[in-house]
C-alpha cells in the first residue's frame, strides 16, 4: 500500500509539474476590460486644480503645468483663454490625474489668435460631470517663439516694401494695417475690403510685398526643397460668403532681384482660399503644391496677395468682400505648430 501511494504521488507530481511551469506565465496582476470604477464609479475630486506658476515667460523657455487628481479616470479639458486676445489653448486627456507630464502649456494656442502679454483664465472641465468646473489664472509675461522663417507679421509698417494695387478703385479706405480687432499674432494685421462694382471682373485689388521686407533680396526659407517647405499664414474672415483670397509666389525670372510685373513668373495654389468661415484660421501648404521647382523656390522676390469677389455667387448689386492676413511664415517639415 505504501508503494502504491508513493506511485500515486510520483504520477501526480509528474503530470502537474509538466504544466505548472507554464502557469507561472499567467498575467494575474492586471485585470480584463476597463476599470469598473472608471466605468460605473461615482466621480470624486481628490485634489483640486493647481497652476504651477502665476506668471510665465514663454520667451525664456518657461512652461505652465496644471495639477488635479480624481478617484477615477475621466476625460478632462483644461481651457486657457486670453482675457484680451481671446486666444484659446486646450489641453486634454483621459486619466485620473493632471501632472506636469500630461497637463502642460508651452505657450501655444489651439484656437487663433496667438496669445498676447495678458492675463489668462484657466478652467478645468470634466464633461461627464457637468457641474464640476475649476478656475484659476496665469499671466503671460513673455510670448512663445515660433519656429520657421517669418516673412512678415505686419507689426511694423512695411513702407515701400508693400505695393498697394487699387487699380480699379474698388478697395475701401479700411484696407491696410489694422489693430482694431485682435490680430492673429501681435497687434497688427493686414486687412482687405472692397466691392467689385466699378469694373465687374472678379478682381478687387492686390498688394505686392517685396522680399526686401525681410532684409534680403529673396525670401529666406528654411529649406530649398519644395516638398519640405511649408507656407503658413493666418486668414481672418467675418463670414461673408463671396470673397476669395489669392496668394501668389513671385519668382525672379530675369534675376533682376526685384519684382517686375509681366516679366517675373508667379505661382499660386490651385483652388485658392474661399473666405466663408469666421475668425482667424491657419492655412498651410507645402510649396510643392504650387508647382515650383527648387531653383525657382530659392529666388522668390515677393508675394502677391489679392482679393477676389466671386461674381458667380454675388447678388446684384454685389456685396463687399473682405479678409485679413497675418503672420506669414515658412516652416520646414510640416505646418507651423500652434
Amino acid at each position: 500500500m505504501k508503494i502504491q501511494l508513493l506511485k500515486v504521488t510520483l504520477a501526480f507530481c509528474l503530470f502537474t509539474t509538466l504544466f505548472l511551469f507554464s502557469a507561472c506565465d499567467r498575467d494575474t496582476e492586471t485585470f480584463d476590460g476597463p476599470s469598473l470604477v472608471n466605468r460605473f464609479g461615482e466621480f470624486m475630486l481628490v485634489e483640486p486644480l493647481t497652476v504651477s506658476r502665476s506668471t510665465v515667460d514663454f520667451d525664456a523657455g518657461e512652461e505652465v503645468s496644471f495639477g488635479a487628481s480624481f478617484n477615477k479616470e475621466v476625460e478632462w479639458f483644461v481651457e486657457i483663454k486670453g482675457l484680451e486676445s481671446g486666444a484659446v489653448k486646450i489641453v486634454d486627456g483621459f486619466s485620473n490625474e493632471l501632472t506636469d507630464v500630461n497637463a502642460v502649456w508651452e505657450g501655444g494656442t489651439t484656437t487663433l489668435p496667438f496669445f498676447n502679454l495678458e492675463r489668462c483664465a484657466v478652467e478645468l472641465i470634466i464633461p461627464t460631470e457637468d457641474s464640476l468646473r475649476f478656475f484659476d489664472t496665469v499671466e503671460v509675461v513673455g510670448l512663445k517663439n515660433y519656429e520657421g522663417s517669418l516673412f512678415t507679421d505686419f507689426e511694423q509698417d512695411l513702407g515701400s516694401d508693400l505695393f498697394f494695387g487699387n487699380f480699379e478703385f474698388e478697395f475701401t479706405n479700411r484696407t491696410g494695417r489694422r489693430s482694431d480687432i485682435p490680430a492673429g499674432q501681435g497687434d497688427f494685421f493686414y486687412y482687405f475690403e472692397g466691392t467689385d462694382q466699378n469694373v465687374p471682373n472678379f478682381f478687387v485689388g492686390l498688394v505686392d510685398i517685396s522680399a526686401q521686407v525681410t532684409g534680403q533680396t529673396y525670401i529666406p526659407l528654411p529649406s530649398s526643397d519644395p516638398e519640405d517647405v511649408f507656407f503658413n499664414a493666418f486668414l481672418y474672415t467675418d463670414g461673408g460668403p463671396h470673397g476669395i483670397a489669392v496668394i501668389q509666389f513671385i519668382f525672379d525670372s530675369n534675376d533682376s532681384g526685384a519684382f517686375e510685373d509681366g516679366t517675373d513668373q508667379t505661382f499660386q495654389l490651385p483652388g485658392d482660399f474661399p473666405l466663408s468661415g469666421e475668425g482667424w484660421n491657419h492655412i498651410s501648404h507645402p510649396m510643392s503644391e504650387v508647382g515650383i521647382t527648387e531653383e525657382q523656390l530659392e529666388k522668390l522676390v515677393g508675394l502677391r496677395i489679392l482679393l477676389i469677389s466671386d461674381m458667380n455667387s454675388q447678388p446684384s448689386p454685389p456685396l463687399a468682400v473682405d479678409y485679413g492676413i497675418d503672420f506669414i511664415t515658412f516652416t520646414q517639415g510640416g505646418p507651423l505648430e500652434l
Binding site: 502504491q4 500515486v8 502537474t16 502557469a23 470604477v37
Partner: protein
C-alpha cells in the same frame, strides 16, 4: 511483426501529417451492419409531424396597437436515409430531407435538401476512414460540445422537444460536434506493456470564405490513446493516457483576406488506476495542457496569447454498491482559448421563432426556459470564433462548460445507482474563483451545485408499467468583495420536476415543471475578438422568476415511434419591472417515427 508495425506507423504518420489527429465514433462492423450486410442498399430515416399553437399574454403586450399574440405553426418532415454498401469495406449514406411547413402549399414553405452525406470504409483492414459529415469529440478542453444551460435532469414531458433540437443540431449523447471533412482511425494491439493504442486524425472545414473579410477556417487534430490493463504487471499501475491536439486555422491566401487566426490546443489526459481490489477502485485522473492563440496579419503574428489549464483528481469507485465519488483540482487559465470546446450550444443572439420582439417598444425578448426548452432556432452546432453571450441566470460559474477560462478551485462529484435501479442519484459541485479580475483586481467567487435524482417506482414492485419521478436542481452563487462599484452578488436556482406514469401499456401520462429564480447584481463582459473583454454592459441587476409547467400524454407505438399531446404554460415575472411580465401558453401535438 516488426515490419507490420513499421507499416502501421508509416500509415499513421502519413495520416497525422496530412490531417493532424482526432477521434471517431463510427465505423463498419456493427451488429446491425453485419445482419444486413447482404443488402446493398437500405432505406431508413425519420418522419415527424408537429402542430402547435402558442399564445402570448401579459403586461408586456402592446394591446393598444393590436399586437399579434397567437401563432399557429407546424411542419411535416421526412428524412430519408439511403445507405449503400457497394462492397465489404465501403459504405455510403445520404439523407434527403423533405419538409413542408404547416399551411405551405404549391411551393411555399416547402423544401428539399440534403441533410447528410458521408462515406466510410476500411483501408487494408487496418485504417478506418470517413469523409463527409462526421461527429467528433475529443476531450472537454479540446473538441467538445458542452451541454446547454438550463438543463439538469429534464422531465420526460419536455424530452420530445429536446430530442428534436438534438436531432436538428446533430447533438449526441457523447457531446460530439458535427463537422464536415475527413478522419482516419486505427488501433494497434500490443502483447507487452500496452494493451492497445488508438490513433485518430481528422481535418474539417468549419467556415467558408467570403473572399473579403472572412477567411476559410479549418479545424484539424488528432489523438493517441494508450490503453492498458497489463501496465499493472510492469509498472504496478494501469490506466489510459491520451495525447490530444487540435488546431484551428484560417486560410489567408484567398481573395483580399490578409488576417486570420491560429488556435492550437495540446493536452494530456490520463486516468490511472492506482489501487484496485474486487470492491474498490481508486484512480488518478485529469487533463492538463495549453493553448496558443495567434492573430495573423500578412503572415505576421500581431497578437499572441498563451493559456494553460490543469485538472487533476482522485476518483473512488465502490463496485459493489455502485457508488462513485471524485474530488479534484480545477484550474483553467484566464487566457486559455479553445474554440472547439468553448463554443456553446445556445446562441443568445439568435432570433427566436416565437415572439422575438414584443411590446410597444418592439424590444427583443430575452430567451427564457420556454425558448431554451423548445426553440431550435436558438441552437447552433457551428464553431464560434469568440466567446458567445451567455445568460448569467442560467450559468454564471461555467458558462462555457468545463473549459470556461479564468476559473480555479475544487470540483467534487458523486453518483450512486441502487442495485435494484430504483434510485439514481448524482451531485456535482464546483467551488471556484477567478484567477484574473474583470474590471477590477478583486476576484469573483463562484459556487455551483447540481443535484439530480431519478426514482423508478416500478422497480420497487413487479409492476410492468413504468412510473418514474425525476428531480433536478442547480444552485449558483457569484460574489465579489471590494468597494461599492465592484460588489457582485448574484444567486440563481433552477429546479426541475418530472413525472412519468405508464397508465396503460405504452400510454404515458406526463407532467413536469421547471422553476428558475435569479436575484442580485453582476457585470456582464462584452467580448471583443476571441476572448478579450472590451467593456461591460450597464450593471446587470436582476430579480426574476420563470415557471414552465407542462402536462400531456404520450403513446409509444414502438421504440422511437410515438405521438404526444401536451399543454405547456410559461410565466416570466420581473420584480424590477412588472411591465415586462408575460406568459406563454402552448398546445402541441407531435408525431415522431424512426424507420
Amino acid at each position: 511483426m516488426v515490419k507490420k508495425y513499421l507499416h502501421l506507423a508509416l500509415l499513421f504518420a502519413l495520416a497525422f501529417g496530412l490531417a493532424g489527429t482526432g477521434f471517431a465514433q463510427v465505423g463498419l462492423g456493427s451488429d446491425k451492419d453485419k445482419s444486413e450486410s447482404d443488402k446493398k442498399v437500405r432505406f431508413n430515416g425519420l418522419g415527424r409531424t408537429s402542430i402547435q399553437q402558442t399564445n402570448l399574454d401579459g403586461p408586456i403586450l402592446d394591446t393598444l396597437n393590436g399586437e399579434v399574440n397567437q401563432v399557429t405553426d407546424g411542419e411535416f418532415l421526412l428524412d430519408v436515409a439511403i445507405n449503400a454498401t457497394p462492397n465489404d469495406v465501403t459504405e455510403v449514406q445520404g439523407i434527403l430531407r423533405l419538409r413542408n411547413e404547416l399551411g405551405g402549399f404549391f411551393g411555399a414553405g416547402q423544401s428539399i435538401e440534403v441533410r447528410e452525406l458521408w462515406a466510410r470504409g476500411i483501408i487494408a483492414d487496418i485504417v478506418k476512414y470517413r469523409v463527409g459529415d462526421m461527429d467528433m469529440v475529443m476531450s472537454p478542453y479540446t473538441l467538445y460540445m458542452p451541454i446547454e444551460e438550463g438543463v439538469d435532469n429534464r422531465a420526460a414531458i419536455f424530452q420530445p422537444q429536446r430530442e428534436i433540437i438534438d436531432y436538428e443540431q446533430f447533438y449526441t449523447a457523447n457531446n460530439e460536434r458535427r463537422l464536415q471533412g475527413a478522419k482516419l482511425e486505427m488501433g494497434l494491439n500490443f502483447s507487452k506493456v500496452l494493451e492497445t493504442a488508438d490513433l485518430t486524425g481528422f481535418i474539417s472545414r468549419i467556415r467558408s470564405t467570403d473572399f473579403f473579410t472572412a477567411p476559410t477556417r479549418f479545424v484539424g487534430g488528432g489523438s493517441v490513446s494508450l490503453i492498458s490493463d497489463r501496465m499493472r504487471d510492469s509498472f504496478g499501475i494501469k490506466g489510459n493516457i491520451t495525447l490530444n491536439t487540435v488546431h484551428t486555422w484560417d486560410d489567408i491566401t484567398v481573395g483580399q483576406i490578409n488576417s486570420g487566426i491560429r488556435n492550437g490546443v495540446n493536452t494530456i489526459a490520463y486516468d490511472i488506476t492506482v489501487y484496485e481490489n474486487p470492491n474498490i477502485q481508486l484512480s488518478l485522473n485529469g487533463e492538463t495542457g495549453f493553448s496558443n492563440l495567434n492573430l495573423i496579419e500578412d503572415s505576421v503574428s500581431v497578437s499572441e496569447e498563451r493559456g494553460t489549464f490543469l485538472t487533476a483528481g482522485l476518483s473512488l469507485k465502490h463496485k459493489k454498491h455502485g457508488f462513485n465519488v471524485r474530488a479534484g483540482y480545477h484550474d483553467i487559465g484566464p487566457d486559455f482559448f479553445s474554440v472547439g470546446a468553448q463554443t456553446k450550444r445556445v446562441d443568445f443572439n439568435s432570433n427566436k421563432t416565437y415572439f422575438n420582439r414584443v411590446g410597444a417598444q418592439n424590444a427583443r425578448r430575452t430567451p427564457g426556459l420556454f425558448d431554451i426548452t423548445r426553440d431550435r432556432a436558438l441552437y447552433s452546432f457551428q464553431v464560434s470564433d469568440r466567446l458567445m453571450n451567455y445568460d448569467p441566470r442560467l450559468s454564471n460559474a461555467l458558462p462555457y462548460g468545463q473549459a470556461t477560462a479564468n476559473r480555479r478551485g475544487l470540483q467534487i462529484s458523486a453518483d450512486w445507482v441502487s442495485k435494484d435501479e430504483v434510485l439514481d442519484l448524482d451531485v456535482q459541485a464546483f467551488l471556484l474563483s477567478e484567477l484574473r479580475g474583470q474590471g477590477t483586481n478583486e476576484l469573483k467567487d463562484f459556487q455551483h451545485i447540481r443535484a439530480n435524482a431519478t426514482v423508478n417506482f416500478h422497480k420497487l414492485t413487479d409492476w410492468k408499467n413504468e412510473y418514474r419521478l425525476t428531480l433536478g436542481s442547480q444552485f449558483e452563487n457569484t460574489s465579489r468583495d471590494g468597494i461599492e462599484v465592484e460588489l457582485v452578488d448574484l444567486s440563481s436556482s433552477l429546479i426541475e420536476v418530472g413525472l412519468e406514469a405508464e397508465v396503460y401499456p405504452n400510454l404515458f401520462l406526463l407532467a413536469g415543471g421547471q422553476f428558475l429564480s435569479a436575484a442580485g447584481n453582476e457585470y456582464i463582459p462584452v467580448v471583443r475578438t476571441f476572448n478579450d473583454v472590451r467593456d461591460f454592459e450597464n450593471a446587470y441587476i436582476v430579480d426574476e422568476t420563470e415557471t414552465l409547467l407542462g402536462a400531456g400524454l404520450k403513446y409509444n407505438f414502438k421504440k422511437n415511434t410515438y405521438v404526444t399531446f401536451q399543454y405547456q404554460s410559461y410565466n416570466y415575472a420581473n420584480a424590477l419591472n412588472g411591465d415586462s411580465d408575460y406568459s406563454l401558453n402552448q398546445v402541441f401535438v407531435l408525431y415522431s417515427m424512426n424507420f
